[in-house]
């Protein structure tokens, strides 16, 4: 974990009018230390500006230790992400990271179901592309199925990358423009998962999705992990600001998470 000045290599809009962007950065230290499900805090304001004041947490989509690069996918939702979307190649950014307790090793599992909702998708890609670390999915004789949901077809991004990584991808959209018309849990039920078909799952997305996923998978008795979001200030565990409620009491999303074992997080 450190503060690293990253260089913008490229910043590209994804799809049409989705508000989604793909950011590629040089950040050799962070790239070297990253693991699946970890994130960075990004200062999204000009040098002397106080708007926005706090750093913004963003998941690390891909990390390339050898090339010293990391990639981020983000959606413009407010002032910080709007500022970020106006960067140019050659600009520098101040990052704090890598942060958080990411996903546990999947080595001992064989059939893994991944649930991604919107900008939760990037948190999961490291699981199938652990460059220079655990190895690719095929080497480990693992099978991954990704259930990827978004509002509309345009917002389902990098499907090709997932497929190239050997992952079977099933999609769901709120408007029915691609894949299953409805939620990822609806899609999971429609594909009639049988208990025992998967031995683990990982999920990242909006809270209502995570809650529905947790309930559904508990029904099948399949263990898994959930990656959460919460507003953050320090991002490193000092301020106690980012807690979520768990069966063990309040836990910091930035350091005890963002990934928590399924069944621990209380969603009500």
């Amino acid at each position: 974990m450190q503060v690293e000045t990253a260089g913008v290599i490229s910043l590209s809009p994804l799809g049409e009018a989705t508000g989604l962007y793909h950011l590629v950065l040089t950040a050799p230290q962070i790239a070297k230390e990253s693991g699946p499900g970890q994130f960075v805090m990004v200062r999204c304001a000009d040098e002397q500006s106080l708007d926005p004041l706090l750093l913004r947490p963003l998941n690390i989509f891909r990390y390339h230790p050898a090339a010293g690069r990391i990639e981020i996918i983000f959606r413009v939702v407010g002032r910080g992400t709007d500022w970020l979307a106006r960067r140019r190649p050659g600009d520098s950014l101040s990052l704090l990271g890598p942060l958080g307790r990411g996903f546990s090793s999947l080595e001992k599992y064989h059939r893994i179901l991944l649930f991604a909702g919107g900008t939760g998708m990037p948190a999961l890609f490291g699981l199938v592309e652990q460059e220079g670390k655990v190895g690719s999915s095929t080497e480990h004789n693992q099978e991954f199925v990704l259930l990827y949901g978004a509002r509309t077809k345009e917002e389902l991004v990098f499907l090709d990358l997932w497929q190239a990584a050997g992952v079977k991808v099933l999609t769901a959209t709120d408007d029915g423009s691609a894949g299953f018309h409805g939620t990822v849990t609806g899609a999971a039920e429609a594909m009639r998962i049988s208990p025992g078909e998967f031995d683990f799952y990982c999920a990242c997305g909006p809270r209502p999705m995570l809650q529905a996923v947790q309930e559904l998978m508990a029904k099948y008795g399949i263990p898994g992990e959930l990656c959460l979001e919460e507003a953050m200030a320090c991002g490193i565990g000092a301020c106690m600001g980012c807690v979520c409620e768990t069966v063990h009491g309040y836990r910091r999303v930035c350091t005890d998470g963002p990934v928590f074992p399924a069944g621990e997080v209380k969603f009500s």
Binding site: E230, A233, M240
Partner: protein
């Protein structure tokens, strides 16, 4: 010539190698920031607020960014004084900087017990008494808003410890000078100010308050002018040293507080913009002093009060 000692300052009996501290609640027990920079570079660490019993804190969400500010409703989540002494204090003692323990009670007795328990420990520079807590025995009225109850807390802590007693003032009062005077008369060795300003935010879509606790405390650059005005007034009214805080993010902010009358300053929310901000403030102060070799930081305390 500017040497390290030109930054040395004294808060009563406590000598600080430089006037830059980190504010209670924003720095935890220094475990996290220790991974980013040597804590020994700081003038001191004001550790997260400690209570007699462990506290779970308030329901989330606990944070909301506001223009140039931060609303928080952490609710004093902490492991309690005994676990603090067992698990955090031994490491804190060895950090090579002054450790100030921030204490919060929900009755006079609790403040007294905390001071007594911590009095037995070595390696502490001072106690910082957070009087912005509700008095559960008096219907939840905050101790820090009345001169009488603020003085009673101060007296209780004063009687229970030989450590320097720094009392942290709440800005949520009609007349901060009145409270400051009462607390000094009751035996405070120094005053620290300001704590956060009470505030709230509403989510128009949800039609509900944003914070799980409804109310939170506002900090950050947005509160700086208020904090500065309060330091100014209190400096004119009392003779004990002041530790100023509220929205400091760079060395010029720190200079303003010092010139208004602060003997030392603390950075809280500024850490969240830039974890290195305390170090940059120290460097900036050093650079400022280097321009005038005859001067030390001590010469600048209250400098803005002198008529031209």
């Amino acid at each position: 010539m500017t040497t390290a000692s030109s930054l040395e300052t004294r808060v009563g009996r406590v000598t600080l190698k430089n006037p830059v501290l980190v504010a209670s609640g924003t720095f935890g027990f220094a475990r996290e920031y220790e991974r980013l920079f040597p804590i020994s570079a700081l003038g001191g660490v004001m550790v997260t607020g400690i209570t007699l019993e462990p506290r779970a804190g308030n329901p989330p969400p606990r944070l909301m960014e506001t223009p140039a500010g931060l609303l928080n409703s952490i609710g004093l989540e902490n492991p309690g004084v005994h676990k603090f002494i067992e698990e955090e204090l031994p490491r804190l003692r060895d950090l090579g900087t002054e450790i100030i323990v921030n204490i919060s009670g929900f009755s006079l007795d609790e403040y007294g017990r905390l001071a007594e328990i911590l009095d037995k420990e070595t390696g502490l520079a001072a106690l910082e008494v957070n009087i912005s807590c509700p008095n559960v025995k008096k219907g939840g009225m905050t101790f820090g808003v009345h001169p009488e109850s603020a003085a009673a807390v101060t007296r209780m802590v004063r009687q229970s410890t030989s450590l320097p007693v720094w009392v942290k003032l709440s800005p949520n009062v009609t007349d901060i000078v009145e409270i400051a005077q009462a607390v000094v008369d009751a035996g405070a060795d120094a005053l620290t100010l300001i704590n956060t300003l009470s505030g709230m935010a509403i989510d128009p879509e949800k039609r509900r308050p944003v914070l799980g606790n409804v109310f939170g405390g506002l900090s950050g650059p947005a509160v700086k002018p208020v904090a500065l005005r309060m330091i100014w007034q209190v400096y004119q009214a009392v003779t004990v040293p002041l530790v100023g805080m509220g929205g400091i993010i760079n060395y010029r902010d720190a200079l303003e507080f010092i010139m208004a009358g602060a003997t030392a300053v603390a950075i809280g929310t500024g850490l969240f913009l830039d974890p290195f901000s305390p170090l940059k403030v120290i460097e900036g102060l050093q650079g400022f002093l280097a321009k005038n070799p005859e001067e030390t930081i001590r010469d600048l305390i209250g400098a803005a009060h002198c008529s031209p």
